[in-house]
Symmetry: C2
């Protein structure tokens, strides 16, 4: 099966399962908690959960798939809280939860999803021992995501952030939940310790690379294509891997921390390309993907293993 077809089918399955579980909200709070969850999204984390489960035990995802929703629900809880912190008004083309219901209800809506994420694993049709391991991993993951978000916010107040600090931040903020998605799928399907660990590392790496690709898209993709302000990270002086690599190569980006027109952005991209900054960052992301694919050597040769390798490249080959 083509990766694109697989992702599309899985997203439909996830949407239908979400509808079964939460489609009939009884309270105002449930409606607020559902808002973002039902506003679309690529459902990449449940897809990863499913691929990992079926890669370690063919056909196993069918009965444990409700637990795969847990990762999507966790992701949405973090988005609702992040949007409050960042005062973002729109997400997935819709008004954010706090914009519609106010901050107190949005804090609670995130907290409700947080609880549901754990409930979903508890109700999975799997043995108790891996379930407890999965729950422990999800809890550790949630704590790490919070640390990653806190680091990201603290970087805004700091002049200099090192490459290692940046990589730790993106791994925690974005990587570990992909790691948990793959590892929990493998755990509940009865995978070996080596498979669970390999898939965890794979997920963390592709998640971190995804974030680096996001930074590249911010600079390289036109606003028309990405729907976001081009080069906003550089205009705001954000500490991305591009900014860190530029500084390491002696390039001062401070003069670019101001409104930039199309010509100036083009000039900036040319300069960063000529100095090798773009290439270095792209190579960093590619080398993470290569390592991630190497992590898959714990799996036997199945369609799912191939799709996981494709998915890894997809994470950094998207251009918006």
């Amino acid at each position: 099966m083509e990766l694109e077809t697989y992702l599309k089918k899985t997203a439909e399955e996830v949407n239908s399962l979400l509808q079964d579980s939460y489609g009939d909200p009884k309270t105002a709070l449930s409606r607020a908690a559902n808002h973002l969850l039902f506003a679309g999204g690529k459902r990449l984390r449940p897809a990863l959960f499913k691929l990992a489960a079926d890669a370690v035990k063919p056909g196993s995802s069918k009965i444990i798939m409700p637990a795969g929703l847990s990762l999507e629900v966790t992701h949405n809880f973090t988005l609702i809280h992040d949007d409050i912190m960042d005062k973002d008004e729109f997400r997935r083309g819709q008004k954010t939860v706090h914009t519609l219901w106010g901050e107190p209800a949005a804090i609670l809506a995130g907290d409700v999803l947080y609880a549901r994420a754990f409930s979903l694993i508890c109700t999975a049709d799997a043995p108790e021992e891996p379930k407890v391991k999965a729950i422990a991993l999800l809890a550790r993951t949630c704590e790490e995501i919070c640390e990653g978000q806190q680091q990201d916010m603290s970087f805004e107040e700091r002049g200099v952030v090192s490459r290692d600090e940046y990589l730790e931040m993106v791994t925690k903020k974005t990587g570990v939940l992909y790691g948990a998605a793959a590892a929990i799928g493998a755990l509940l399907a009865g995978g070996s310790d080596a498979q669970v660990e390999g898939l965890y590392n794979y997920g963390c790496r592709i998640g971190a690379a995804f974030q680096i690709q996001d930074d590249l898209i911010d600079l390289l993709a036109s606003s028309a294509k990405s729907g976001k302000d081009q080069a906003s990270d550089i205009r705001e002086g954000k500490q991305t891997l591009i900014a860190i690599t530029a500084r390491e190569q002696g390039i001062d980006l401070k003069p670019w921390r101001r409104p930039l027109n199309h010509e100036e952005i083009a000039l900036l991209i040319t300069m960063l390309t000529d100095k090798g900054v773009i290439d270095t960052v792209q190579k960093d992301a590619e080398s993470m993907i290569t390592s991630a694919i190497h992590d898959l050597s714990v799996l036997s040769d199945t369609m799912e293993k191939h799709l996981l390798a494709e998915l890894a490249w997809y994470f950094i080959r998207r251009d918006y």
Copy 2:
């Protein structure tokens, strides 16, 4: 053992276990998450957990006590988020987390404690099956606490709240976490289904009665004694069981929704006492305690059972 001695000893044990687990925070976020947790508190939920565990299996609490911290950590997560929603500046005599670290870090600090609450149950030295049940109960409890808080906030915008709605709100906002504390203690200690259910109901009832007693204290205790503004609920037109009972008896409390001096408060108390409102509310709380003690009939006769009965009365006999 006297209840007071028992609670004091348990609080010391809880403080020491919390110190072992989180006493050496490595990040700014961990320090924010620890702030309220290490600012004291009566540790009533872990005490209830311990009593329940030892009541169903003598001596069992020793090895599962770390899981008892989960309830205290959950309580503190809800307080941190509630303080943001209510814009409260002080708690336990200290500045609140959002006042010290800002709202974004306070949202994250609560989220970190939320994750730790689940981690703590996972690491308990107990069989996997009751652990999963305990985690499922904690998750359901967290969702209900959110609903209770949302109901409480929504009541402020409504003219009339019924007795049943009020009782549902206090049961969710305050009762269910006491219910979960007792039930999870019994579950992890290997209690029977009947014992777990009985202790859950016991906890829900004493928790709801605790909240009703809080409403009585707000009206009856002098500011000097309680450290809070006397009669603030009535001045703010809050929907408490006192206000609901008064309305049921044809008393209009609207004229009292204004600044009140000592004499006026005394007059109000006399009027509500003469009309039987105070007595009715006190009897409601007492009847919840009587039912809660009846729930304890699933336990054999131990020191812990007696302490649980004493604890129930303690919840509504405190006068500040």
